[in-house]
């Protein structure tokens, strides 16, 4: 993967982007147990597969979602967060 498509700026060199990690739902810190909070803070789904990830086009500050296969490094699609229906 040398080119990533920013939903605002179009196809740009990968060097213009920063990786923000997998999108993971955060449990409510006020009500969750210590164990669940520790699992949220530290644990990751480290197995290869298609994942929803945060990426940022650093030149313009656009954060967006990429669906990427971490075994082949191919991006299936990118879109803004709202477009995913999770606002």
């Amino acid at each position: 993967m040398k080119i990533l498509v920013c939903p605002i700026n179009g196809p740009r060199s990968i060097s213009e982007f920063a990786y923000g990690g997998e999108i993971r739902p955060m449990p409510d810190p006020a009500t969750t147990s210590d164990g669940d909070w520790a699992r949220y803070v530290f644990n990751r789904s480290g197995v290869a597969g298609v994942k929803l990830e945060w990426w940022c086009h650093t030149a313009s500050g656009v954060w967006f979602v990429a669906e990427r296969d971490t075994a082949t490094d191919t991006v299936l699609q990118t879109y803004l967060y709202d477009a995913a229906g999770r606002s």
């Binding site: 520790a38 530290f42 197995v47």
Partner: protein, 400 residues
């Protein structure tokens, strides 16, 4: 050099997944020190074909945490007579190791590391830029004016390099001679467990060459750990980033010590063949692949030239990558797990090669006695649930 067993036995006392340095060292010490010979080491590829053969072979113990310093120092001690043990030349070469500091902040970290190291009896001291220049006359300590100049360094006299393939071969041959079976081209498809008093327990392993029953499984598979843990229903903080490296064409010997610069993302040593063995930092995003990139060669070469401008005509011969098991605190994850009979030696990120002997020692003890070896107490699987991390800022290839 190795027996090639034609079939798997129906049952083993211990099954080790992964015939890299760590897995084979555990097998070797299980047979040699604990009298457990009915052991199978299963390897999807070939002996030492993973991160054992992909690292930059640096051995040192000048870490930052007391737990890390004691652990790695025991490993450096074990390295000393390993070639004798194996009757195999490991090309173990004590070179001295400079970790360069380019800023006041990193000078402060070097002093901190030196004091912790000295407290635990490790030969480690802060030296000034002139001393670095005396040891490596070819270095431009001003960094060409492009990067902050070298202000000083942490010097670690026992720092060494070794021939990494030979380490896997030595442990493998030693284990083989003591009755351990090494099965290459044998992929683990599932790890079978059943209910027991304490929860679940290991009862066997299913491979592409048939099923084995066993009560003890040691997982020593850098880069594939999350997949193995999933087979027994465990999650972990481990995530995978590639770590790349490259070598130059052979040149006349000019670099004796190992040189590391965290600010410039460079580590380099000169092998017995004259090649410069170079590494930088982790790839910036998760990837389960050993592909190499041009970006890596370009940025590492640029940083190398800031320290060593005379290398501008020297060509890069090869580059490669390994998959690094990263952890949030840059310490490994070792020992017992919540699944009875399932042991892990994982989370070896960018710091695993130097620890090969002590991992074999401590994991064989842990597997044989079902009790965590005291040297790896601080590296337990359950430390994260207690928020008791072992923050190892002395690890290589990571930003601090």
């Amino acid at each position: 050099m190795f027996t090639v067993p034609d079939r798997l036995k129906p049952t083993y006392d211990v099954v080790i997944i992964g015939a890299g340095g760590h897995g084979l060292a555990a097998a070797y010490y299980l047979a040699r020190d604990h009298g457990i010979h009915n052991v199978a080491v299963l390897e999807r590829g070939y002996i030492g074909g993973g991160n054992t053969g992909r690292n930059t072979t640096i051995i040192r113990s000048n870490y930052l945490t007391p737990e890390g310093v004691k652990f790695y120092d025991e490993s450096v001690r074990l390295w000393q007579d390993l070639a004798q043990d194996f009757d195999l030349n490991l090309f173990y070469s004590t070179r001295g190791h400079f970790t360069l500091a380019h800023t006041d902040a990193s000078m402060r970290t070097m002093r901190w590391r030196a004091e912790v190291n000295k407290h635990y009896g490790v030969d480690s001291e802060v030296v000034d830029a002139q001393e670095v220049q005396r040891a490596v006359p070819m270095m431009d300590i001003r960094c060409g004016g492009h990067s902050p100049p070298v202000l000083g360094a942490l010097y670690h006299a026992p720092g060494a390099i070794a021939r990494h393939d030979a380490v896997a071969w030595g442990y493998g041959r030693g284990a083989d001679r003591r009755g351990v079976e090494i099965h290459q081209n044998t992929e683990v498809l599932s790890i079978d467990t059943e209910e027991c008093e304490s929860g679940r327990a290991v009862v066997g392993v299913t491979t592409n060459r048939g099923r084995i029953s066993t009560r003890k499984v040691l997982c020593a598979v850098a880069g594939s750990t999350p997949g193995m843990l999933k087979m027994v229903g465990l999650s972990s903080p481990i995530y995978i980033h590639p770590l790349q490296a490259m070598v130059s064409e052979p040149v006349k010997p000019w670099l004796d010590p190992v040189i590391v610069s965290g600010s410039l993302h460079v580590y380099v040593s000169q092998s017995a063949r004259g090649e410069l063995v170079m590494g930088a930092s982790l790839d910036p995003y998760e990837l389960h692949s050993t592909r190499s990139t041009l970006d890596f060669v370009e940025s590492l070469s640029a940083h190398m030239l800031e320290l060593f401008p005379f290398l501008s005509d020297v060509r890069v011969m090869r580059q490669w990558a390994g998959m690094a098991d990263m952890t949030p605190d840059f310490s490994p994850i070792m020992g017992l797990t919540p699944v009875a009979g399932f042991y892990i030696d994982a989370g070896w990120g960018t710091w695993g090669f130097k620890a090969t002997p002590v991992c074999g020692k401590t994991m064989s003890h842990t597997v044989a006695t079902n009790r965590t070896h005291p040297l790896i107490d601080a590296f337990g699987y359950d430390r994260f649930s207690r928020f008791e991390l072992t923050g190892e800022k002395g690890a290589a290839s990571v930003g601090h």
